[in-house]
Symmetry: C2
Subunit: 342 residues, 2 copies
DNA sequence: GGCTGGATGGGTAACGTTACCCACTCCTGA
DNA sequence: TCAGGAGTGGGTAACGTTACCCATCCAGCC
């Protein structure tokens, strides 16, 4: 390894500005008790020396100005929308987001990822779609400001940002029914078994409820795989092999819908001629003309921005729990149409 | 903020195991000079107390067991393949990857992102597709083990992982020419102006070279936008407005190709009937049947794994620079076909 | 018997920053 | 005139870990 030249420290800055390290620290943190003259003098010294605070040292005593983000996986394009919003919101305050993949399905891996952030002393955690037990979230929230995205359980310890998945799923299923479909299948995530608070569970349950309410209980068909392209693909293959096969598929996520489109196509069927497909998330790619997927929109950027704001508030001292719910809308595109004649 | 209960520290472990903190530290680091009995005793105490090392404190003295990953943006699905490979490789050694978005185009933002990792005292940096000046990389490499993905400049200070973009671009363009196309356009990234070592530059230059070699210099048509969906979309709209319009488009990345497909579709043209489209990266989505994009494959997972291995080696003490080059292959799918009759 | 050296364990001073206190100077109002 | 407080600056002890060094023990050898 190359020889590391010594970093410029707060002591160097203090010496150069002819003040105490305490004074420099105060300027850095915008703390109370600093005159304008002092501020200018210190800032000048910082610029002169090219000083940057050493984050690890900060972490030993106070803040790190770091937000930890836990994502199941970066492959999901919808997460990119969310992160854009988050970054927007927190970067003004000098905060930096660091992202870690949680894996999403393996509880041990998920726990390791969350520990990794805590051990790195982040000031707050933004956890997207956690699959763990609620108790684990509560426990984490005791140590660190926490905002959770996409879970419906209520907690007094952390904030929740979510879309109303019941409304969203209803929109999608009602849309398909409205087009005249009866054999509407659903691609679910097998994590539904873990908790009723998971968005996956709610979307699946709502699908069944709406079907039942329209007298279509007999046509309920669920492939329980995962909210990924592979999951959508495998689930759709399974659904297509049933007899009679469905005329429409409501995939629980856009990624799964992508896999569904592929499977339909591969089976020599057309969308929406033979099968209509609807997704959920309205990630930006789904709007592209060659894909044109009907999807439930839940403004990821807004959710990300809100999560950022809530985290900053919590870091600032708020303890009361907040719940921010977005009402989704349906964006109709070319992947859904009335069923063909039988 | 909730009252944080004091963390379990190395001192607690030492007291519980009735040994010194030094001994515990040695066990944690697998350092020399620890008997088997000591090891067992300390491990038992660690388990009893549920101790986890405090990373920030570690960072003050030694390693953090953290690899910092700089990505232009998480939206690019190809990066997911790379990260999967990296994670695979480093997690065995107890390392954790943390990701930061570099923005990719704004030099100041990119610099901030790289600083953020250095300030967080990562043991090594894996920088995907940096757009900054080579000097900045060299400087970073002086302080921190560095592996760069996707740049062609040689350095004695850091390792490079790349695919042979000249071969890749050649494969794509030759393929289109072989199909009978003459008016083949290219969607480039406007960053090409910054350095001849950027993969964008090489792909664009190779396109022009191959066209020229086949006597098609007069048909060279480049839309210089960016390697994103928006870029591909805007670039393609521009290309389609030319007269005569191209019969094939070689997009410099799959994401750009996605945008291109959308624009072609929106113009009421078909792929590959009216226009053939080829991409680059062969991210997993491109293989899905409803997309079926012809693309240049460069085994992202292998590149990620290799990057991880090289970083661990560097952290372990290697100083000689390594250059790992993957030879790309062409994966032909339904988005390319011979041109229609004029 | 004394010397050497490997194996093992521990003591201690950093690492760079901030929280917590205290000191000093003015100014205000009784 | 003086107490009290606001405004400003600094001294110092942590935070949890590890690098570096030293102490001890014991086997093996001259």
């Amino acid at each position: 390894m190359a020889i590391r030249q010594r970093r410029v420290t707060i002591t160097d800055v203090a010496r150069h500005a002819q003040v105490s390290t305490t004074a420099v620290s105060k300027v850095l943190r915008d703390a109370y008790g600093v005159s304008e003259a002092m501020r200018l003098k210190v800032r000048a010294a910082i610029d002169d020396l090219g000083y940057r605070p050493h984050n690890a040292a900060r972490a030993m005593r106070g803040r790190t100005f770091t937000i930890g983000v836990l994502l199941p996986h970066i492959r999901n394009p919808f997460f990119a929308d969310i992160i854009d919003g988050l970054t927007d919101e927190i970067s003004a305050g000098g905060y930096q987001a660091i992202m870690v993949q949680s894996g999403g399905r393996d509880p041990a891996a998920e726990r390791r990822a969350s520990d990794a952030l805590v051990d790195r002393q982040v000031d707050g955690v933004f956890w997207v779609a956690p699959a763990c037990a609620r108790a684990q979230l509560e426990q984490l929230a005791e140590d660190t400001p926490l905002v959770v995205l996409g879970r419906h359980d209520r907690s007094s310890r952390y904030d929740c940002v979510l879309d109303d998945d019941e409304v969203g799923a209803e929109l999608a299923v009602e849309h398909l029914i409205g087009l005249g479909h009866r054999r509407i299948a659903h691609i679910a995530d097998s994590l539904v078994s873990r908790s009723t608070a998971l968005l996956q569970t709610i979307r699946a349950a709502t699908y069944e409820r709406v079907m039942t309410e329209h007298g279509l209980a007999g046509h309920i068909a669920v492939a329980s795989t995962s909210y990924t392209e592979e999951g959508g693909y495998a689930g759709t293959r399974e659904l297509l092999s049933r007899d009679p096969r469905p005329t429409a598929i409501f995939a629980g996520s856009d990624q799964a819908a992508f896999g569904a489109l592929a499977a339909v196509h591969e089976a020599g069927l057309t969308v929406p001629g033979d099968i209509s497909v609807a997704g959920y998330d309205n990630a930006r790619v789904t709007g592209l003309a060659h894909i044109a997927l009907t999807s439930v929109d839940q403004d990821g950027a807004l959710m990300g921005r809100t999560a950022g704001r809530l985290l900053l508030e919590r870091i600032g001292g708020r303890t009361a729990a907040v719940r921010f719910s977005v009402t989704p809308t349906l964006v109709t595109r070319r992947s859904t149409a009335p069923p063909g004649p039988e």
